[in-house]
């Protein structure tokens, strides 16, 4: 097990390095160069000074190594756009994104997994058909439009919930935060929920057909126990794999959702960094998001081993 974890850690670090090298190369090859050097009010001497200060006069691989060296010392650089350390910007945005995506994933799992099981158990009934159809619609919903529709209905017409942001100015209570969290979580969790229902349903149908389930039934085990104790655990194995595969989608979806609901997270930060061609912030976000995603994938893999006694990772 330890050997497996070490190997996966090594692979994860390699993947993160490849992503940052790729992004760095991409940024460096962009036409026009860094926006910070393009200010028409700057004298040529100042531009030259800035160029040396940021290291833009050096070869690209040297710039990358310099960046990496600084990162290893905990320094993500200074934002071009806002003039604050990138680490500060990310430190204030990351919790908001983790809260939003974590809540969406949790809500989706709590609602979708029981519904998927229900659909499998009542296969081909009207419940199953309704759930399958609704989740099919949910999969096709564009999150940004769905979010806008939620805003129009619940914030503009009914005035029940706030249209965006994280807090009403001046009110920093948990209750106020939860009120602001409802609509973005609904918007973000719907497509994940749809996918989870479909997946849980088909995993559960597969398991319910297996011999050991028939054996349990034949032994006279009550049907609810067969479903929850015998079938559920096996069916959860592919579902956990799906959760791992959904994480990139969740993070990408969070970026769009944050923009729709003015949620002050990494997605909004990424959008403004890309607009301002703010290289240090783009690199910082790329690094942090990759680490978050790679670590979550690692956790999912370990969870997998925990769930499935046949997997031993040696």
């Amino acid at each position: 097990m330890t050997g497996y974890i070490l190997r996966r850690l090594g692979e994860s670090i390699a993947l993160i390095l490849v992503i940052t090298i790729f992004t760095f190369a991409l940024i460096s090859s962009a036409p026009g160069g860094p926006s910070i050097l393009l200010d028409p009010n700057m004298s040529p001497e100042d531009t030259a000074r800035l160029r040396t200060l940021y290291g833009f006069d050096r070869p690209v691989y040297e710039q990358y190594l310099l960046w990496l060296w600084q990162v290893l010392q905990g320094n993500l650089g200074f934002s071009f756009g806002v003039g604050r350390p990138v680490s500060e910007l990310i430190a204030s945005a990351l919790p908001a994104t983790l809260l939003l995506s974590g809540a969406a994933l949790l809500v989706a799992a709590i609602i979708a997994i029981p519904l998927g099981i229900l659909a499998a158990v009542k296969r081909n009934s009207w419940i199953d058909q309704t759930l399958t159809t609704v989740s099919f619609f949910g999969l096709s919903l564009p999150v940004f439009w769905y979010g806008l529709m939620l805003i129009i209905l619940f914030a503009v017409i009914l005035r029940w919930l706030p249209a965006g942001g994280m807090f009403t100015p001046g009110q920093n209570s948990i209750g106020n935060l939860l009120l602001h969290l409802i609509l973005p979580v609904v918007a973000l969790s719907t497509s994940i929920m749809a996918e989870l229902v479909r997946y849980t349903r088909s995993a559960m149908i597969g398991v319910l057909r297996q011999d050991y389930v028939r054996t349990a039934r034949a032994k006279g085990v009550a049907e609810p126990v067969v479903i929850t104790r015998h079938a559920f655990r096996t069916a959860m194995i592919p579902v956990v794999t799906l959760l791992g595969m959904l994480i990139p989608r969740l993070v990408g979806g969070a970026a769009v959702t944050e923009s729709v609901f003015s949620w002050p997270g990494m997605g909004r930060l990424a959008v403004s960094a890309a607009f301002n061609q703010d290289y240090p912030t783009i690199m910082g976000i790329t690094l942090v998001i990759s680490v978050v995603v790679v670590v979550s994938n690692l956790i999912v893999d370990l969870l997998y081993a925990k769930l499935d006694p046949r997997v031993s990772y040696s």
Binding site: L15, V18, I19, T23, L26, I27, A30, P31, G32, F136, F137, L139, S140, L141, P142, V143, F144, W145, Y146, L148, M149, I151, I152, V156, I157, M245, I247, P248, R249, V251, G252, A255, V256, S259, A270, V271, A274, F275, Q277, I282, I285, T286, I289, S290, V293, V294, N297
Partner: protein, 292 residues
């Protein structure tokens, strides 16, 4: 009834070709028929947009801004007095063609890489599989934003970056099928006849995967339409004044209080087209699935 009346008639049952059988099982569901008609209509209107649209998408009418629906403007006008129906028609043209073009490019990339990985095996396979797994495990949306912001969001750039981030499912499917097919006897026979390896792959083995590629491509168009409209909504995709459903939605957002309907139309069309492509893709998958 006929089965009980004349059992020996069974072998005499009219035989139908596999293609016809696939078509029947595809066309059986009403949902598939509705989706096909809706898509056919959308494609028709997009192609003949200049003859169908009542106005030009760029005609500004400053005396008729944010007008409600009327006989002159069936769906009203936007904040510049432009006819909404016209812009939806031209926007669909952009959104559908970007979706189609990027999937075409993604299929070329995905099928080629998947075919090489599956057929050659060895280090080529491990390398390509690693790239596929790696790209599927990270959120590529940030890569899309960065690339379009730095290199400009012209239509070719947009199509290219969407293709570069969506080819993996096709590659994975093709790789799987070819890995399973490359040991078959016809491959061995072709090799024994002296047909070059690459010719065997691209002329004989890869075409076997056409049904799966078509299914993956159909579902891919749905995905590409969503990605394009999300990017255009955020301001990184199709740039105004060229209308696309995504950027119309972004413009309408500013008038959510004056005229909320403006945000309903473009999004509903994105939703409907994505739903239609998904429905057809799903039906094709079921119809071509040999296990059924």
């Amino acid at each position: 009834m006929s089965a009980t009346a004349s059992p020996p008639a069974k072998p005499a049952r009219k035989s139908i070709s596999p293609l016809a059988r696939t078509w029947r099982s595809f066309w059986r569901r009403p949902a598939t028929q509705i989706a096909s008609v809706v898509l056919g209509l959308m494609v028709f209107v997009s192609i003949f947009a200049p003859w169908i649209a009542p106005y030009s998408p760029a005609t500004i009418d400053m005396f008729n801004m944010l007008a409600p629906p009327s006989p002159q403007h069936w769906l009203g006008t936007d904040e510049n007095g432009r006819d909404i129906l016209t812009r939806l028609i031209y926007g669909g043209r952009v959104s559908l063609s970007v979706g189609l073009a990027s999937v075409a490019a993604a299929v070329v990339i995905g099928a080629t890489l998947g075919a090489l990985a599956g057929f050659l095996g060895g280090w080529v396979d491990s390398l390509i599989s690693r790239i596929i797994d790696g790209m599927l495990s990270i959120p590529l949306f940030f890569f899309l934003l960065t690339t379009l912001a730095l290199f400009g969001s012209s239509l070719p750039n947009l199509i290219l970056v969407i293709a570069l981030t969506t080819w993996m499912p096709v590659a994975r499917i093709v790789r799987g099928e070819i890995t399973a097919n490359r040991e078959l006897q016809y491959v061995e026979a072709a090799a024994a006849l002296g047909v070059p390896k690459m010719k065997i792959l691209f002329r004989h083995v890869l075409p076997q995967s056409t049904p799966s590629i078509i299914v993956a491509a159909t579902l891919g168009i749905a995905e590409a339409i969503i990605v394009e409209s999300a990017l255009s909504y955020l301001g990184f995709g199709v740039r105004p004044p060229t209308p696309s459903w995504g950027n119309m939605l972004a413009e309408a957002r500013g008038y959510i209080f004056q005229n909320p309907l403006l945000t309903v139309y473009p999004g509903a069309l994105i939703f409907i087209s994505v739903l239609a492509f998904n429905t057809i893709g799903d039906a094709m998958r079921d119809a071509t699935d040999p296990r059924k």
